[in-house]
């Protein structure tokens, strides 16, 4: 089950970040922030020649003893980071991929809202509901 979901803009500031256990939120914010370095490393490691073939899903960024952090980058350099409980071993790679795909779809829907300015914090009610569903359905 995903304990934290974050959407990070191209300039590396958070557009949306939400963690499920609401106490100790700062720890997750910090984890997401440090994972951005790993994301940048992975993107640059692909090399300029492979930019077209680069897959959007980055996979496991780094494991800690309690949590695993997964990353996903869109072609517009918007990053999605998901922190998952390590104890939930039943969570398979393709489930994480499908969660990221759902996240990407709901992000594009937010972008299509004419009242949303790109670069603003995401405050849409619909997205909040969607992300809550996403975070709670991680163990399906």
């Amino acid at each position: 089950m995903a304990v934290c979901v974050a959407v990070i803009a191209k300039e590396n500031y958070p557009l949306y970040i939400r963690s499920i256990p609401t106490e100790n939120e700062l720890k997750f914010h910090y984890m997401v922030h440090t994972s951005l370095d790993v994301v940048d490393e992975k993107i640059s490691a692909m090399g300029k020649a492979l930019v077209d073939q680069r897959e959007l899903y980055l996979g496991l960024l780094y494991p800690t003893e309690d949590y695993k952090v997964y990353g996903y980058v869109t072609n517009s350099k918007v990053k999605f980071v998901m922190v998952v409980d390590s104890s939930n071993t039943a969570l398979r790679d393709n489930e994480i991929r499908s969660m990221f795909r759902k996240l990407h779809n709901s992000y594009t829907d937010v972008m299509c809202n004419p009242f949303y300015n790109p670069g603003d914090r995401i405050q849409s009610r619909w997205t909040k509901r969607m992300l809550r569903v996403l975070a709670s359905s991680g163990h399906s």
Partner: protein, 151 residues
């Protein structure tokens, strides 16, 4: 509009997302220009009216419906023929007034409002007011002068 003589009821397909995004951009630009929801509603209604007075000619040419005998028939034609032809949806007709001169059209999935969420500072904005204007303009041209459109 009818450049080819044998166009008949053929309709061109286009991306509905481009249409939705175009309408959204129009409304947000109006909001920025006028900064007052009431003025934006009025402008949308005026724009819709201008569209409606022209659209009615295209509609009559393409759909070949005859003269409606009563208001009930008019309501049916609007919902089942006109909306279907131009927006691809069929709204439901409800809420007839006791005198039979008012009814409501409920649009279940309005393509104009896909992905749209009104922010709190525009709570009195009537987003689809263009459609009201279109109906007002179209019906006025076929001589229903006391027609008013409401959301």
């Amino acid at each position: 509009m009818s450049r080819q003589a044998n166009r008949g009821t053929e309709s061109k397909k286009m991306s509905s997302e481009l249409f939705t995004l175009t309408y959204g951009a129009l409304v947000t630009q109006l909001c920025k220009d006028y900064e007052n929801d009431e003025d934006v509603n009025k402008q949308l209604d005026k724009m819709g009216y201008n569209i409606g007075v022209r659209l009615i000619e295209d509609f009559l040419a393409r759909s070949n419906v005859g003269r409606c005998h009563d208001f009930l028939e008019t309501a049916d034609v609007i919902a089942k023929v006109a909306f279907k032809m131009y927006l691809g949806i069929t709204p439901s007709i409800t809420n007839w007034s006791p005198a039979g001169d008012e009814f409501s059209l409920i649009l279940e999935n309005n393509p104009l409002v896909d992905f749209v969420e009104l922010p709190d500072n525009h709570s009195s904005l009537i987003y689809s007011n263009l459609l009201c204007g279109v109906l007002r303009g179209a019906l006025e041209m076929i001589r229903k002068p006391r027609c008013t459109a409401d959301t």
